[in-house]
């Protein structure tokens, strides 16, 4: 068990690829030139167009949990290589690189934390780790996070950020959809609340399992959400995709999202929802 701890809710810029360093930067959403300081103050969202720059799992812990504190579980769980998989690189080399780059052992961080004094089982995905992909480790850690909710009868919060199942573990990755969803059926039966938070991107195997199964599902604005990747769909239909296709706003419009919540209001939204779902403290 390890402790994550950050002093303030001010999100520090680490070595995040998505986050600019320097004084000025161009917004990826609207192209406006903005100061990095104003971005940072604004939770790494563009003050002009609300484009949400990608932040790390540690940033979300800091953003959502009381005092930015997470009592982390299963931190040392690491990927095995059941297929002895090799494409242009060996899978185990990819894992080693990802660990070095991100400082975390796989694509999800799980544990127990508090939100406005209320204990929750919390999981947050790390996109920088092989695209936030779900293999055996992510599946097992999420499964245990659900079990902690079941055992302690505390709400479950999962922040997803993932391109889907991890190809390099083949059918084992696919089975993690079944493992996590089957446990969520239990949680559902026990009437323990599950809030699913979607960030950019949440697609494929993660979207087709726990991310879609929240009692309440909320997303950051302009996130890419969907089952198939936009490139695959464009190839299938042999043409251009409609503007805004597979965005948070598209998901909301088609009835697959409860609400779009700006990052600066995410913690408050979760507190409000927990009050309704889990009762007054």
């Amino acid at each position: 068990m390890e402790w994550f701890r950050k002093k303030t809710r001010d999100l520090a810029a680490g070595e995040k690829k998505d986050i600019p360093d320097g004084v000025w930067t161009k917004c990826k959403g609207c192209g406006e030139i903005i100061t990095v300081i104003s971005l940072k103050k604004n939770y790494w969202t563009c003050p002009k167009c609300d484009y949400h720059f990608r932040i790390t799992s540690a940033d979300y812990i800091n953003l959502i949990l009381d005092d930015g504190r997470l009592e982390e579980y299963d931190a040392n769980m690491t990927s095995a290589d059941p297929l002895v998989f090799r494409d242009t690189k060996r899978y185990m080399d990819r894992i080693a690189e990802a660990r070095k780059k991100t400082g975390v052992n796989d694509a999800v961080i799980c544990g127990i934390g508090k939100i406005d004094g209320r204990e929750v089982s919390f999981a947050v995905m790390e996109f920088a780790f092989i695209g936030g992909s779900m293999g055996s480790v992510v599946g097992e850690k999420v499964a245990r996070a659900i079990e902690r909710s079941l055992q302690r009868k505390i709400p479950l919060i999962i922040i997803s950020c993932s391109g889907g199942a991890r190809m390099m573990e083949g059918v084992f990755s696919l089975m993690q959809l079944a493992k996590t969803s089957a446990l969520l059926a239990r949680l559902d039966k026990m009437k323990i609340p599950f809030i699913s938070i979607l960030t950019n991107p949440t697609t494929a195997g993660v979207m087709a399992s726990y991310a879609s199964l929240g009692d309440v599902i909320i997303a950051e604005p302009q996130a890419l959400l969907g089952f198939a990747g936009p490139r695959v769909i464009a190839q299938t239909i042999g043409g251009e995709l409609p503007p805004g296709f597979q965005s948070s706003e598209f998901f909301l419009e088609h009835g697959f999202l409860d609400s779009i919540v700006h990052r600066s209001k995410m913690r408050k939204a979760v507190i409000t929802l927990l009050d309704y779902l889990a009762g007054p403290k």
Partner: protein
């Protein structure tokens, strides 16, 4: 079998089949007694076929799973079941032709049978959308499962899909939600569920009707997280438009790396059984294939009917709970 239906690796078999046919034609045209010679050739052909089929590569098995003459769900239902009464629609949006289902009998067992359906000719292939379901297909399957649960009928599922359909309408109607919902609900359905992968078992498209108490695979079917084509495109950047020989090589490589065959899945303890196909593959003998499948289904139904709903659900959850390989 027509000559164009032989796969590349079946060329030597085709050569012998041609000779056998020539000999037969000759015998009947000239009224010659050649039965000994023909029998000899046939035996040689069978030996050769057994040899070729005993050392198929993973990519060759993928070809067999996609064989244009491979028996599809409705072929097996017609041959192995009786009194099939087809049910249509998801009661939400539409009737997905790539997902079929209905009441049927397996000897004395009354069941709900559900399956993905491919088409045989160009028109049928389009009608069945190449076995690629939309969300309404998954919702139709779930609706039928709920009917089965309500009336105590076991559920038999045939899986055969190159993937859930990746299209605009499918996304608009929540392909991911439909699959996620099915996976979750299937974990808690209080009647036996037997899943049989008879051809292609591609990723979420397969798993969306693939959570069961027993999961069987026909010998020459495949099941994994992505198609070899998809995997080659993403990891090797090998996409249509590239040099065809290179593209084929990458896909072959992806199939090998993914370890996607029935015996791979059995070795990984993901499935319960590899079910052997008749000599030369399921497409050579529909009746034989249906008979083998029927036998397996009846045995499984008899075993599963001994379990209470609670035992069924607990065991099913446990079955999936333990899947995964990791260090800690």
């Amino acid at each position: 079998m027509k000559e164009q239906d032989y796969l590349d690796f079946e060329r030597p078999i085709l050569e012998l089949d041609r000779k056998i046919k020539e000999m037969r034609d000759l015998a009947s045209a000239e009224n010659l007694e050649l039965s000994k010679e023909i029998e000899l050739l046939e035996r040689r052909r069978n030996r050769l076929r057994a040899e070729v089929y005993s050392k198929l590569t993973r990519w060759q098995r993928v070809q067999l799973a996609r064989h244009p003459l491979r028996p599809y769900s409705l072929d097996i239902i017609q041959l192995a079941f009786t009194d099939f009464f087809e049910l249509h629609g998801d009661r939400r949006f539409a009737d997905d032709k790539a997902m079929i289902g209905g009441f049927a009998k397996l000897d004395e067992h009354r069941v709900m049978v559900i399956g993905q359906q491919k088409g045989r000719d160009t028109k049928q292939r389009q009608y069945r959308n190449f076995g690629m379901c939309h969300p309404e297909g998954y919702r139709k399957a779930l609706r039928l499962m709920k009917v089965a649960e309500k009336f105590g009928l076991p559920i038999v599922i045939f899986i055969d899909t190159p993937g859930a359909y990746p299209g605009v309408g499918a996304e608009e109607r929540g392909q991911a939600e439909a699959i996620a919902r099915n996976i979750m609900e299937m974990a808690a359905i209080e009647v036996p569920i037997i899943c049989f992968i008879i051809g292609e078992g591609a990723s979420g498209g397969a798993l969306g009707i693939g959570v069961g108490d027993r999961v069987y695979m026909l010998e020459n079917s495949w099941y994994t997280v992505i198609s070899p084509e998809g995997c080659a495109a993403i990891l090797w950047k090998a996409e249509a438009g590239a040099d065809p020989a290179k593209l084929e090589a990458r896909r072959r490589q992806a199939a090998e790396a993914l370890k996607l065959t029935a015996s791979d899945n059995a070795a990984f303890e993901i499935i319960d059984k590899v079910v052997p196909e008749p000599p030369g593959g399921a497409h050579m003998d529909y009746e034989g294939t249906a008979r083998i499948i029927k036998g397996e289904l009846i045995q499984a139904l008899n075993e599963l009917k001994m379990l209470s709903p609670e035992e069924l659900c607990n065991k099913r959850l446990e079955k999936y709970r333990v899947i995964g390989v990791y260090n800690e």
